[in-house]
């Protein structure tokens, strides 16, 4: 079955961020498809390459990256939510004249149209809220 997942929760503040990752990993492990993960609201911080949790705690951005590499996932970070919260790719960093970018590899910034498309293309859409 083809799923899409919406993540609205910030890692380290809300358990939903971790639950969403576990749900994604489980559905992939059991043979389902994951069309897209759409990070919205504070969920955009999941795409931060600068997140540096202690060694003995889960690294949620790195976990998503590893899962994406194994399963060729589409990890979309809402561009409007991300830019105002300080999650930038190289293009946006240039547009706003910032010293660098911090979007982690494996994630991409895009618009809400990607969420509308995920709704249209998926058998199930599940939200992990904050």
């Amino acid at each position: 079955m083809k799923f899409s997942i919406i993540v609205q929760a910030a890692p380290y503040s809300c358990q939903s961020a971790e639950t969403a990752y576990r749900f994604a990993k489980t559905l992939l492990d059991t043979g389902h498809d994951l069309h897209r993960v759409f990070f919205y609201g504070d969920g955009v911080h999941t795409g931060s390459a600068f997140a540096s949790p202690p060694q003995d705690e889960p690294n949620i951005p790195a976990n998503w990256q590893a899962l994406a590499a194994d399963h060729d996932l589409d990890l979309v970070v809402c561009i409007a939510a991300a830019v105002r919260r300080g999650v930038l790719d190289d293009t946006e960093a240039g547009r706003y004249s910032k010293s660098g970018s911090n979007l982690a590899a494996g994630f991409e910034l895009s618009g809400l149209g990607q969420l509308a498309d995920a709704i249209a293309q998926s058998d199930r859409v599940i939200t992990f809220g904050a």
Binding site: G41, I119, A120, Q121
Partner: protein, 121 residues
């Protein structure tokens, strides 16, 4: 888009205190651009999103009601408001903007069952 899924968006949060109301509206308008059939249900503290007379400049935000006024331009006209939530707050439907249809718990169950995708904010 391969498919015109019917989408129900449930708005349960008060406006301004958190960004849920605005985030929800952005999703609704985007789905409207893609011509997906959208219904909006306002319940719990979300009914305050429809109350008139907002002046949010002094808290550094834009009036939500102005954005809601854009819904008809995207052919989004299926607006519902929860009767028991209005009663809880002592609000009457004629105090609300955008002419929502008042619905009870049974009608809300039907809304959930009759849409293909349900999003909550």
């Amino acid at each position: 888009m391969s498919d015109k899924k019917k989408v129900l968006i449930i708005n349960r949060r008060a406006p301004y205190g958190r960004s849920n109301a605005r985030d929800s509206l952005d999703v609704a308008l985007t789905c409207g651009v893609f011509e997906m059939p959208i219904s909006l249900l306002f319940a719990d503290d979300g009914v305050f999103q429809l109350l008139g007379g907002h002046q949010a400049k002094d808290i550094g935000q834009k009036n939500l009601s102005a954005n809601l006024a854009a819904l008809p331009m995207y052919d989004i006209d299926q607006l519902f408001v929860c009767e028991s939530s209005l009663n809880t707050h002592g609000l009457a439907s004629d105090q609300l903007d955008h002419n929502p249809t008042v619905v009870d718990h049974n009608a809300i169950q039907q809304l959930i069952q009759s849409h293909d995708v349900v999003l909550t904010f």
